[in-house]
């Protein structure tokens, strides 16, 4: 493979991997604490991207303001869908699939509301107004201010989240709720409060991820939806349990989508139309061959879970 291709695709892998990691952490958190495979996460991301776009168009071009408001908007959308939809629904004791359908429906509504708004205000396929600057140019290696925003911000956010979960009382409570909800109730933990905070936290990471994603490409109402399945692939690859696994999964999926795809194209002529299928093939293989994921701590197969 030509070195230029390798280096470019590796840079893309790292950028996309950071974005996937940020999104996959949100998915994992909801999955563990709320016990919901949340497809509406995609639209929390898209909301963040649109907020960033609108802020950059009409309010401020400062990256801090843009990313901050996008984070806030994601958190608000997530919290309000929890309060308006998910919490009342979970009282109905619906099955996981029905809840999955609920999250689908919430996502569908949000997505098409964004469609209507961007149709009305002509916001399709716009770029967040942060001008592109090339900061490093070393033969094949070109790095821009976008790369230097996406990667450090994502990684910082991931580390902050890991510290929050690992080192704080709230984090301990969330983990307790994740591993044993009944016990958490009995121990008198304020379960509702922890759930709301979890939604707030996942929403915030989603909003931030959306803004960063918007910086990486263009903003449109399908932005999150098109990324959600690879992100699920990353989360499952990580075993849906550990943070390290999720992050590893995210970078692996991004690596397969970019560098591996590039290599396949170079050596076998596989067209890029297949790119989107690569993470899906990974999900299926992982689920079938190693249901516990990369680092899984899930119980052995063949036992009570069946």
């Amino acid at each position: 493979m030509p070195p230029a291709l390798l280096i470019t695709s590796l840079v893309h892998s790292i950028q996309v991997g950071s974005l996937y990691a940020l999104m996959a952490l949100g998915i994992t958190l909801t999955m563990r604490v709320i016990r919901l495979p949340n497809f509406a996460h995609a639209e929390f991301v898209t909301t963040g991207a649109f907020t960033a776009l609108v802020v950059s168009l009409f309010l401020s071009r400062s990256p801090v303001v843009i990313l901050g408001l996008a984070t806030l908007s994601g958190a608000l959308v997530a919290l309000s869908s929890h309060l308006l939809v998910f919490r009342p629904m979970s009282r109905r004791k619906l099955s996981t699939y029905s809840m999955l359908l609920v999250s689908f429906a919430v996502g569908l509504i949000l997505r098409y509301v964004l469609f209507v708004l961007s149709d009305y205000y002509q916001l399709f396929d716009k770029r967040i107004q942060i001008p592109l600057q090339i900061l490093v140019r070393e033969s094949y290696l070109v790095l821009t201010n976008i790369t230097f925003t996406i990667v450090p911000v994502s990684i910082a956010c991931v580390i902050a989240l890991a510290l929050l979960l690992g080192r704080t009382a709230l984090g301990r409570e969330m983990r307790a709720l994740a591993s044993n909800p009944e016990l958490a109730h009995i121990l008198g933990m304020r379960v509702e409060r922890i759930r709301s905070l979890t939604w707030l936290l996942t929403g915030a990471t989603a909003g931030l991820a959306g803004a960063l994603w918007g910086l990486y490409t263009f903003v449109n109402p399908l932005l999150g939806w098109l990324a959600i399945l690879p992100v699920f692939a990353a989360a499952i690859l990580g075993g849906l349990s550990s943070f390290a696994g999720t992050i590893l999964g995210a970078y692996l999926v991004a690596f397969c989508e970019n560098t591996l795809m590039q290599a396949l194209n170079h050596y076998t002529g596989l067209t890029f139309s297949f790119k989107a299928a690569i993470p899906f093939v990974i999900i299926i293989l992982v689920l079938l061959l190693r249901p516990q994921g990369l680092t899984g701590f899930v119980r052995r197969s063949g036992d009570l879970e069946r």
Partner: protein, 354 residues
């Protein structure tokens, strides 16, 4: 406005027949047996892709013509040839349709059977939903990237419905509607009979508690695989009619949204109730057509709102409201669903205690 009521009704009922097949299939799989098939689109698409292959490769042979490669530069001539055969060789058209249905049913049934067998390895139950969802996308991406199936992104057009040779569009569309409706009716009767049989009882037990059903000596994996097989066959038949109705086969049709539409029909109508599935299919079909007509009306009256977006928002809201306030659907599952009760109220089989 000048609505052609007859044609609208025929189109509506044809759509309804196809939607009913899809809804019955999902109702059997999820409503009755509790297998969360989030990959309905794949099984419908198997019917569609089979149609693409038979109509481009087999149909010319059946009419005694030479096969023209359906894609790329020869796309036009191949399309002409298909239309010509459909117009002048009704026998070849019908035979081709019959073979298409058989192949589609076989392939889809086998895929359903094996997917279910393989999926048993999955640890958490909802992983199955995810595998099917993602599997559907994978198949779709493969088909739209690999030319020989449906000419990749181009899709295959000119798959006329089997009565096109009559030369009278009204009559042929009515006949096609009758064909679709009668297949849907037969399927409904078949599903009703299944549900009321010991097989239906087994499936419902499976849905409620698979582990207990297993410990009562039932081969749960086999029952699941069988119901997936039947559901997949029905979905594939729906897929064949689906593309014959639009006359076009495109991978764009078989996205997650299609699966979601079918789920909405079943949840709306009433999980576990075949009549409910039919009702759900009817409601969604009417809603679909009404919003389509409303969109045209709104465009004519110069209201600048894209109703096609609003349609999806409506879907989402209806689904949420249903799940919130009537999770059992419009027509909930009846308590008595097997015929066994009639046997007991009947005094005859009451044999003496041993």
């Amino acid at each position: 406005m000048n609505i052609d009521l007859g044609a609208t009704l025929v189109a509506l009922m044809t759509f309804f027949g196809i939607a009913a097949l899809m809804a019955l299939s999902l109702n059997l799989e999820y409503g009755i047996a509790g297998v969360p098939n989030f990959g309905q689109a794949v099984f419908v698409s198997i019917g569609a892709y089979t149609t693409a292959i038979t109509y481009t490769r087999l149909l010319p042979l059946l009419a005694g013509k030479e096969v023209i490669w359906p894609c790329g530069p020869t796309l036009g001539p191949a399309l002409q040839l298909r239309s010509e055969i459909m117009r002048s060789y009704p026998g070849a058209g019908f035979l081709n349709l019959a073979i298409t249905l058989v192949i589609a049913a076989l392939v889809s049934g086998l895929v359903g059977y094996f997917v279910s067998r393989i999926a048993l390895r999955l640890q958490q139950e909802w992983f199955l939903a995810l595998v099917l969802l993602v599997g559907g996308e994978t198949v779709r991406i493969f088909v739209r990237s690999y030319e020989p199936v449906i000419c990749a992104n181009n899709g295959v057009s000119g798959v006329a419905q089997p009565f096109a040779w009559l030369g009278n569009p009204q009559l042929s569309s009515i006949l096609f509607m009758l064909l679709v409706l009668s297949v849907a009716a037969l399927t409904w009767v078949y599903c009703e009979r299944l549900v009321r049989s010991p097989f239906g009882r087994l499936l419902k037990a499976l849905r409620e508690n698979a582990a207990v059903t297993r410990s009562l000596g039932k081969d749960v994996a086999l029952a699941r695989a069988r119901v997936m097989l039947i559901g997949s066959v029905i979905a594939a038949i729906a897929g064949v009619f689906f593309v014959l109705n639009t006359g076009y086969i495109s991978s764009n049709d078989f996205v997650v949204t299609l699966t979601l539409d079918i789920w909405v029909m079943v949840v709306l109508g009433g999980l576990g109730n075949n009549r409910g599935a039919l009702l759900g299919a009817l409601v969604i079909t009417i809603l679909d057509r009404l919003t389509a007509i409303a969109t045209i009306q709104m465009n004519m009256s110069a209201i600048d709102l894209e109703f096609n977006y609003v349609r999806y928002i409506l879907y989402g809201i209806i689904l949420l409201l249903m799940l919130r306030y009537r999770p059992q659907g419009i027509l909930p599952e009846p308590a008595r669903t097997t015929n066994a009760h009639d046997l007991l109220t009947d005094p005859a089989p009451h044999v003496a205690d041993s």
